[in-house]
Amino acid sequence: MNATQPVRKSAAALDLARIRAEFPILGLRVAGKPLVYLDNAASSQMPQPVIDRLVRYQTTEHANIHRAVHYLSETATREYEEARRRLQRFINAGEDREVIFTSGTTESINLVMHGYGRKFIGAGDEIILTTLEHHSNIVPWQMLCEEKGAKIRVVPINDAGELLVDEYEKLFNERTRFVGLTHVSNALGTVNPIKSMIAFARARGVPVLIDGAQAAPHMRVDVQDLDCDFYAFSGHKMCGPTGIGILYGKAALLETMQPFKGGGDMILSVSFEKTTYNAIPHKFEAGTPPIAAAIGLGAAVDYLSALGMDAIAAHESELLDYATGQVGRMDGVRIIGTAKAKASVLSFGVEGVHPHDVGTLLNQEGIAIRTGHHCAQPVMQRFKVPATSRASFAFYNNVGEIDALVEGIRKVQKVFA
């Protein structure tokens, strides 16, 4: 099994035919062939109930929130705040004010860098990151280090793409101020043992931010059980719209932080002498938020919860095992990232063929995968490859699509034979 949490054997199996019928885009034909969408780690597709929710909001509920006293404004405000509670339940946050709407994981991490990092991290302080981080959990911290004179320490990985936890623990010292850690590697699919790593840091008084962009769509996340200080994820990778994401933060920490953006809705009172900031979460939601997208994401997590995150994890784990077996036994194909615990991602290289050529030729078969460095160049450097081909699965994928992928790779090999 590939998820961090034990997958319950009793998890009801997914009704794949019914589920696939709910995703209109899966009926598309590309290059004259049925679409095989295996680029879910980049962005997932949207089911009809979420599309319908967006239409209903836009046709019967829209106005600006937290402002006017009229019917539509009250309706929009209620639905927006209800969406926040849907997200709260989805990650089991203790309070709804700990759930901040952002534009996505990238903004969530930047919010923590500006709101927490710039206030509490100074010259000579150290931030621990890992080789597996996406650029969005590297670059903001580099910007902070440049500004403050702080330093980044990096947790290495082994040849399977697993974090060396012993090395992680050795990096801690009296100057360690922060840990940024991805839950699941976007380039390799490695599921990190974050619960014990969080506990180790917190026992030393060091706050931990988890990049959950590749985890929240695929497994049950319980932020209270994990005991992380921050957890960031994106809506569009989990059947929601683009332009919306979440930052979960412990209330006590969020309250000590400075605002990231200034503007309307994040204040209680403004004069040119003094501005009093609003309470959390509003302190971090300046300006008119993407209201429709937030409500859409609320519908998306309800959709996922109705299927059951355990059932989703179990199905995706089966898909990944099957794909690993099928692709792994092909001659001239190397799987990159062979961690014991993996989720949803199969990165591979076809001998003698550049990943971009693989991608273009698979596209001709109607198969969508991602090729490139996946915004994780340190991972590429570690495996000494410029890029990989990455197939990434969602719960609506089926075994037939993996067979199509294998057949597609064979055709690529034939072209380059």
Partner: protein
């Protein structure tokens, strides 16, 4: 969309497999590095101008089939030509790859027109152009060319997670 397989024609696959002029000149008069940071393509180009004529040229690097074949065919084509003729080809190749050149009108591209199909694959246009970009940089004594430079007419990030 044009059939991308038409891009992977025998001649391109052959140049990818057995790139011509692959290597480095010991004493180049001009050289430049070409990068596509988005896909990791990298080529280094060395050439020797005798007067105004390219008497030798070589490239090296790691790149996709389209980029490598483009570099191989470019070096074969411009070797022995004047710098001015090469500059004309750079312009014409760029225009072809971006769909601005009508191949029915007179041009000098010859068998380089096998890359004509690339303009239907926006994410691959840069792969084909990179070697030509790098040649341009070498002529103008610019140490490195990038598909993502500010003045790059092809600037259109692929990016993303």
């Amino acid at each position: 969309m044009a059939d991308p397989k038409s891009l992977y024609q025998e001649v391109i696959l052959d140049h990818n497999k057995k790139p011509r002029n692959f290597g480095t000149l010991a004493q180049p008069s001009h050289k430049a590095e070409g990068h596509n940071p988005l896909c990791g393509d990298h080529i280094s180009l060395t050439l020797h101008l005798e007067g105004d004529r390219i008497d030798n040229i070589a490239f090296q690097g790691e790149a996709c089939a389209i980029c490598k074949a483009s570099a191989s065919m470019m070096t074969s084509t411009v070797k022995g030509k004047t710098r001015e003729d090469a500059e004309t080809l750079i312009q014409e190749f760029r225009d072809m790859a971006t769909g601005k050149l009508d191949l029915q009108t007179p041009h000098h591209l010859g068998r380089l027109t096998v890359f004509g199909g690339v303009h239907d694959l926006p994410t691959r246009v840069k792969c084909a152009i990179l070697p030509w970009h790098t040649l341009h940089a070498a002529f103008h004594s610019v140490a490195s060319a990038s598909t993502e430079a500010d003045d790059d007419p092809m600037h259109a990030p692929i990016g993303g997670a």
